[in-house]
């Protein structure tokens, strides 16, 4: 779907900007907001380009650079830290061969860390795209990654 077609689903009012940016980003195969997308959004919502850029840059769920097809967000809250999320992160970095904020060369995964995901009863936790995974350990992580690789 074109960005313009997405924009047309919303009233051209500034208060819709977060929903607009979510929709445009979700529609991009590389999960990010391009410069063109920000400019089209500014035009459509009647905002300055700098204001739109300011909003897009502020919220951590938006990315201004290309990401992988699947975005992994590992919770690094105090609870997950107590429940050994650092081991989870190390395992992910090893298995994916990338560090935090980086994308695998094949373009399949981006590894990010996140503030509390609110899954503390089953920590440590992560999200891949919109799916939550809890009670993580090395074995479980490998299994989860394989299901995405097999798609």
């Amino acid at each position: 779907m074109s960005n313009q077609a997405i924009l047309n689903q919303f009233a051209p009012e500034q208060h819709n900007i977060l929903e607009v940016l979510h929709a445009i980003q979700d529609n991009h195969p590389q999960n990010y907001l391009t410069k063109d997308a920000l400019e089209e959004t500014a035009r459509y919502l009647g905002m300055t380009k700098s204001t739109v850029y300011g909003v897009a840059g502020y919220y951590t769920m938006f990315s201004l650079k290309p990401r992988g097809k699947h975005v992994i967000r590992v919770c690094v809250s105090p609870v997950c830290e107590i429940m050994k999320v650092n081991d989870v992160l190390l395992h992910l970095e090893k298995e994916l061969g990338v560090g935090q904020g980086e994308t695998t060369p094949c373009g399949l995964f981006t590894l990010e860390v996140s503030e509390c995901l609110g899954q503390c009863q089953e920590a440590p936790s992560m999200m891949i795209n919109e799916q939550v995974y809890n009670k993580l350990n090395a074995e479980k992580i490998s299994e989860i990654l394989n299901t995405y690789r097999a798609e």
Binding site: L18, H22, V55, Y59, T60, E81, E115, Q121
Partner: protein, 413 residues
């Protein structure tokens, strides 16, 4: 041995959250029917007398907030209700469970609150990461429209109310009520200067009531069963129940709803299955990152807003993060300080500079620096300054975990 008192979570896990019929069969939307037969001011009086206090963290009187909003700016053409569903306080996951397991409950509370202040439009601001909460709430809204509990002439009355979801996009600060209004208007999440308070000048400049999900979930039962019934739970100044999110080193982490006034020991031993694998309790972080550490000496204190405040501790959102012997208070404190650094919006200097400074000094504590006690004093002084001069609660918060960690665990920092 105490047990849970499930008033708010009575349907959770029992009913199909996607079925409005299930909710109605359990008495759902009867409180709304009753509310619409009472004058709006009568609703506010009932909440005032029930003594309900905001469950988001600050513990302010819900009835007073509604009263202020209903009387704010009489010339304004519009009034709004905003549901604060931006649950982001680390260690807090109670609102998520209400939204995922009984979304109609807080939706009904929202409609009653709107009626009480005569708002005709509402927004539910749910954090973007809570995809299931967004899905379940949207389903609840759709079904409520179909049954005539939302929209025009609700249940045949003269009251109209529309509500829609606004998803957040990853900002802890947007859970602060004034910042949330900025975000709802489509701006960066920078806090506003107050006054004016939202009750006078809130969303789009109109009087606005901002209430937390759990707070709103308390309203239907207060209306349907009355203040006296409600007050049988809890204490005189902290009536009702509270959902505690217990996590960390316990055998059964989870959400537990209890009367306000139980002790930390009861929460851990009686409800959360005791310490994980028989470990020894070391500390708890109460109220999340913007909360306070306590040690074993606080295990038998009553968990109420006022008693904890007297002991320089916090109830906050109801997060109880349990640490065992072997866990590092230093690591968790640094985690909190990094969190504030990341979430500071950068608008005001004390917070922007101070949150970075605290992390850096925290790192230096472990760099073999001989003047540790001096460094801790400096950190505390910095955090104090931030608390006095920052615009919003974010910059005012690092002092809480820092000061309490120093008070109980200075030796190991």
């Amino acid at each position: 041995m105490i047990q849970e008192t499930r008033v708010i979570l009575k349907n959770a896990g029992q009913n199909n959250p996607e079925s409005i019929e299930d909710y109605m069969a359990a008495g759902g939307y009867e409180a709304l029917r009753k509310a619409l037969s009472i004058k709006p001011a009568g609703i506010i009086d009932e909440l005032l007398e029930a003594g309900l206090r905001g469950r988001g963290g600050a513990g302010f009187s819900t009835g007073m907030k509604q009263q202020f909003t209903s009387k704010g700016c009489q010339d304004c053409p519009q009034r709004y209700v905003v549901v604060n569903a931006d649950e982001g306080e680390p260690g807090t996951f109670k609102d998520r469970v209400i939204m995922e397991e009984d979304p109609h409950l807080y939706l009904e509370g929202t409609i009653i609150a709107a009626y009480a202040i005569q708002a005709t439009k509402g927004y539910i601001y749910i954090r973007g990461e809570y995809t299931d909460s967004i899905y379940k709430t949207q389903k609840a809204i759709n079904d409520a429209y179909e049954k005539g509990f939302l929209g025009e002439s609700i249940m045949g009355s003269e009251f109209d109310f529309d509500v829609e979801i606004k998803p957040g996009a990853g900002s802890y600060l947007c859970g602060e009520e004034l910042t949330m209004l900025e975000s709802l208007e489509g701006k960066r999440g920078n806090p506003r200067i107050k006054p004016p308070f939202p009750a006078e000048k809130g969303l789009f400049g109109m009087p606005t009531l901002v209430n937390n999900v759990e707070t709103l979930a308390n309203i239907p039962v207060i209306i349907s069963r009355g203040k006296d019934w409600y007050r049988q739970y809890g204490t005189e100044r902290s009536p009702g129940t509270k959902i505690f999110s217990i996590s960390g080193q316990v055998n059964k982490p989870g959400n537990y709803e209890v009367e306000l006034g139980v002790t930390l020991r009861q929460l851990i031993d009686d409800l959360a299955g005791g310490m994980k694998d028989g470990k020894t309790f070391k500390a708890a972080l109460l109220g999340g990152a913007a909360g306070t550490f306590v040690d074993a000496g606080m295990l038998d204190e009553k968990m109420t807003y006022d008693n904890l405040r007297e002991k320089d501790a916090t109830l906050g959102s109801g997060a109880v993060i349990v640490l065992a012997e072997g866990d590092s208070v230093y690591d968790i404190l640094q985690n909190c300080l990094r969190f504030f650094r990341h979430e500071s919006c950068g608008k005001c200097v004390p917070c922007r500079v101070g949150t970075s400074l605290l992390v850096r000094k925290g790192v230096e504590l472990r760099n073999g620096n001989p003047g540790k006690m001096l460094m801790l004093q400096e950190m505390e002084k910095e955090a104090e300054l931030m608390a006095q001069t920052s615009l919003c609660p974010l910059g005012q918060s690092p002092i809480l975990p820092l000061k309490s960690a120093i008070r109980y665990f200075a030796k190991e920092l």
